[in-house]
Amino acid sequence: MTQAKPRSPKTSRKGKATGKSTGENRAVGFPEGLTEQDLLNSYRQMVLVRKTDERVWMMNRQGKVPIAASCQGHEAAQLGSLLAAQQDGDCFLFPYYRDLAIKMMVGLSPTQVMLSFMGKVGEPYSGARQFPLQGADLEHRVIQISNVVGAGLTQAVGYALGCRMLGDDTVVLAYLGDGATSQGETHEAMNFAGVHRLPVVFVCENNRYAISVPQSLQMAITDVASRAEGYGFPGVVVDGMDLVQSYQATREGIKHARSQGPVFLEMKVERLMPHTTDDDDRRYRGDDEVEQARLRDPLVTFPAYLKEQGILTDQEAEEINAEAQRAVNEATDVAEAASPPDASDMLSHVYAP
């Protein structure tokens, strides 16, 4: 792992935009530990997440969901890294607000997700006290206390420290955006992890925007992964639009973390939607930019790859779509019918007993 050289991802910005995924970045043959079933399953997850994401956005427009941050364009990076974490079996996750795919696919049902976005009883992270899917889902080994950018990273590092003190074999995956790399706390988290060689994989989903602020105003470098060296551990650039590559890098990262200490993975991704349902990204980027990015949408390129590889047929793809649509419809109905929490809950749990 330490010898892994940063690879510059081939993005459609740099290559010529043919409008057609050639799959040229993709692994040839099967990566370590991956079965056809895994890939198919990841595709199923990806479709379900996308349908959910789209539904949530729509419901926001209907006034039924106050706020949502879309993960569209980040799915391959998120699901690839999650697949690696799940195969490892002993990982703990500190995602951030854009990680719908991760939070959902650790084991939540579409209904739980919908309850969360609508702030209803059964909300799994905070009892609907917080923004959707924010708080803790301990059953699935996930913590995200807040959406304060960067605030989860020192906590993730502390969690890893605690695991070491108790002799656990856990590796912690800590997720952040490109904007989050500017926060002082991110620096402090990485520095501490480096000094104590803690088992942490930092996964940076670099979509080149922090709301409207482009990467060029966020940092003076191209690959933020290069900062890892300054903390005494390796940084790797990954094509986060590619699930297999994201999986592989994370799997190697987890191994490295457990044996030698932290790793920083920079997943180059695209944010296909505005920052959140509150945002209007036409104020700061051209339509063409997003159109270009859509050519690399994992929901387009991943099934194409699977079909090329003979893992997925058109008919299966249809079925997967239909199944996901049914699940999301059902979840929506259940959540709409569910009750909001009782006003009296407002006063409880300020303190632990």
Partner: protein
Amino acid sequence: MPLKSVIEAVREAMLEEMRRDEKVFVMGEDVGLRGGVFLATQGFLEEFGQARALDTPLAEASIMGIALGAAFRGLRPIPEVEFADFVWPSVNQLIGEAARVCYGTNGALSVPMVVRIPYGGGIRGGLFHSQNVEAYFCHTPGLKVIAPATPYDAKGLLKSAIRDDNPVVFLEHKKTYRLVRGEVPEEEYLLPIGKADVKRAGDNVTVVSYGLMLHYCLEAAEVVAAEGIDVEVVDLRTLKPLDKETVVESVKKTAKLLIVHEDNLTGGVGAEVAALVADEAFEYLDGPITRLCGPDVPTMPFAQPLEDAYMPNTEKVAEALRKLAAY
């Protein structure tokens, strides 16, 4: 006079001051290309260029520290904290440093800086997009703190804050941004920092408030007026320095005091108002000093019924007024 919203008033105040004085500039996350997440700085990049509508990296400590350093060079920065909830990484520079600059240099340096902070709840912001943060800054000597309730006050006070040579925390209640509209003169005006405003005169009970809650207090005053209770509504406007005189004068007249704020009860601005009155108007008081405030839970939760349960509102204020009037 034209009707304007609070956010329009805020934007106009900055626009006028930036045109008047080229040392004034805005900086913060998304203030440039996007014109601010609430559009407070819309069009600034186009008019003033990148240097004076500066999109910063996502790092609040540096936003504050860099503003401070620029102020040392004689500029008049207006750093924006995108939401009050994200002010914490910056308070080492704001509470720790900026507030002590003038005192700690024996007056050699001062900090002409206005920190704009959208704050407050009732907008389904949940625990991390709803916070009230005023009490922390009110406890910090060296800072001034302003929390207007109306477009008129917002504009006049923001312009004064920009011309003030001290670090001013300017708190804009997010729910008032588009909800509250009011008359704003075309011609230039300034309002004095440190002066409360009696928004409604009355004889039976004084209610002291600010920000969004001020409007609920005014509504409640009308409700109970119909029942024969004549309420005086004092809008603090400036939270630090507190306009003790106006509050004490009012209580001397009415003999009863209700304080209303959205922020948590314990150690809130209301505690200081109560303490001042319990000392300086003790002999005039004819009823317990009452506070109707946010309960001591960490900000209002996300789900609608929970948020509603947290927020003081017109009916709750009216009820508290009735109780106090009947004392």
